[in-house]
Subunit: 404 residues, 2 copies
């Protein structure tokens, strides 16, 4: 086990009608003037946003509203939010929505008291991801309506600079939300596609951690990751048949938070591999693909490309999680069968596992593969990405070909 | 899944020599004058306490020292600590040790700014456990040297009023430690017996949560509990053979914190059953038995007495955790075999699973069983304890007989 520190201060408030406690919790965390941030879509038209604003005003607090967040949230709206908050003297940000809204709120929270350009925090330093020290953030709270990114409890924030199709992230413990209100009922009306992409995203956050290291030394987080995998597979399948299954919704919602708050990465190298994620970020930056749908193609391709470099972990996963019988004569067949079963699982959620099947992608030209591969955020000083097998541009293109 | 809130703000700092960061972290949490609390035993004689005191002074902070904590920590020392802290103007408590030292520090932290008798917080209200609202606690930090109680991240505190042999607990979110420094190397010199009792205690904290509820609705925490069970069984057995196995020590140490910070109980009834715990508390109150050793006898007896009331959960545990093949003709035999394997596991740690084998206990007279049973802390309005099967005095005596 590698040395680590772990901090997850986010208070989870889970249950039916939990959003009725929103104003009260903002007040307890010292908020007096609140920016309510949302996507102007379902949460607004369903009346949820207005209901929560009423609840916040009922707690004696002032409200400023900013909608318009889109999937792969845009830097331009972040700038707009920062200006608005400065002008209005906002001291608390409430995100109502999923990862895009939360990330947009986090970026605004970082920018309000920062004298420079908030994009500074998202830019690579010499090609290597750097630790970001910011001015103290304005506190962020969340009413979660989509279980997927785990942004409601994580230190992650992903923003797209739309004029350059650049999707970049910033990790910062200071912008972890102070609370996450999770009412599973709010996720019942999601389209099946959104639910499915969320389940794949949740699965992927522990997958990135699980495969980051050798097969020994982290028994506890191996099992914790496996808890997330099993929950995603059990409850994800149930939700395709029964979208109103409260318990399945609740388990997926809490799994979303737990899978990405750092718990399943404790003591593992770099807190995860993240190769698949950064590769997928370029795919969704280029084609505006939903993150979870992109991962359904990238993850199996990545696995096929790298599994020989960490047979112990892939065999552990194949037998303990995917239920494959160990092939003692040809261990590799054990792993390949497990990858096949993972593709079956993604397909059972209605998500294709190849790029050419995706409506927004299709056949990807070689030059676009290279363009995306060259843009993938590097995480190692030698210009590669990932820990299990550090990947260079050629490796990444091979993975795109396998995903094709 | 039941509605719940979850908060675990404790920062984990895990690794070799992690205790060298103690002074720095106390400073970051605002401490200026620190009570260093310990048991005057190994941690003191090994020089660890003095090394850490030097480290704290090196960070520019003042130190007051109070040793003398014993297993099943005593109320009298808590009183002494409160007086000392008031006199010296202490604003931070550092516990160096295991659960006893941490609980003693938590009780002191609660008492310093409380005008009444700190024992008020440990007394039952009308026979029912009550939620305790205290004055804000003085912050507590921990350098952990025994992995067992999980007190380093939990809201629990157990104190014994020695003149009445009363062992009582107080749950309070305000006294959760602000940080827990965990250097697995510090646990390598523990006697085998202490290591074993710790592993059983860690196992029990998720066991109490696992069996608290029906067999459906909490897939995620079922799997999270199972992660703790597997880690305890894998790493506990390894430590009996190889006490210096760093990774096994590290996994058990982190499992200690995770198993009792509330994570594995999210969404379950009353956050757990706790029948076995309260029954064992009376055993160790009466005979001064180490908590983990007492649990090794009480848990299997409790299981044999209650399993028919929750066959789904016991069958899930038997097949998924204990690796028993499902007996389709006689499902009960599946469970009984699993309980037998659990006893085997406890015995593989060198801990007997009956009271008559325990050096400090032996044959327990019926009248002592009744005396202990009548003292067991009740958790239900009807005077019973536990959620899976609410137990009255006669039930508890039956469990003592099964454990005999």
């Amino acid at each position: 086990m590698n040395d680590f520190t772990f901090l997850s201060p986010t208070r989870l408030i889970v249950g039916r009608n939990a959003e009725e406690q929103t104003g009260e919790w903002i007040r307890r965390y010292g908020g007096t003037k609140v920016l309510v941030h949302h996507d102007s879509m379902y949460c607004k038209t369903s009346g949820l946003v207005d209901k929560i604003i009423e609840n916040i005003r009922g707690a004696g607090l002032e409200v400023v509203e900013l909608g318009g967040v889109v999937p792969n949230p845009r830097l331009s709206l972040v700038y707009e939010g920062i200006e608005l908050c400065r002008k209005e003297g906002v001291d608390f940000l409430l995100a109502i929505g999923g990862g895009s809204v939360i990330d947009s709120a986090k970026a605004i929270a970082m920018g309000i008291r920062y004298a420079g350009d908030v994009w500074d925090f998202f830019v690579e330093d010499n090609g290597v991801v750097r630790a970001v020290e910011t001015e103290p953030c304005v506190p962020v709270g969340v009413v979660l309506t989509i279980a997927a990114t785990g942004s409601e409890g994580s230190n992650s924030c992903v923003i797209t600079k739309e004029d350059e199709n650049l999707k970049r992230f910033c990790d910062n413990d200071f912008h972890r939300p102070v609370f996450a209100i999770e009412n599973p009922v709010l996720t019942m009306s999601l389209p099946k596609f959104q639910t499915a992409c969320g389940v794949i995203d949740i699965f992927s956050h522990s997958m990135e951690r699980y495969f980051s290291d050798e097969g020994v030394g982290h028994d506890l987080t191996d099992y914790l990751c496996e808890a997330i995998f099993h929950t995603c597979m059990d409850c994800g399948r149930r939700l395709m048949a029964y979208p109103d299954d409260y318990d399945a919704r609740a388990n997926i919602m809490v799994a979303s938070t737990i899978s990405h708050n750092g718990l399943t990465g404790m003591g593992r190298r770099n807190n995860g591999d993240w190769g698949s994620h950064f590769i997928e970020h370029e795919l969704s930056g280029e084609y505006d693909v939903t993150h979870g749908a992109g991962l359904a193609a990238i993850i199996p391709a990545w696995m096929k490309y790298v599994y020989k470099d960490n047979m112990p972990m892939f065999l552990k996963w194949a037998t303990r999680v995917m239920g494959v019988s160990y092939d003692y004569e040809h261990p590799e067949l054990t792993v390949l069968e497990a990858i096949r079963r993972l593709e079956d699982f993604f397909r059972s959620l209605g998500i294709p596992t190849t790029l050419h099947e995706m409506p927004d992608v299709g056949i990807v030209p070689e030059e676009v593969m290279y363009k995306m591969a060259r843009r993938v955020r590097v995480t190692n000083p030698d210009g590669t990405v990932g820990t299990l097998k550090p990947l260079n541009t050629e490796d990444i293109v091979c993975i795109f070909r396998l995903a094709q």
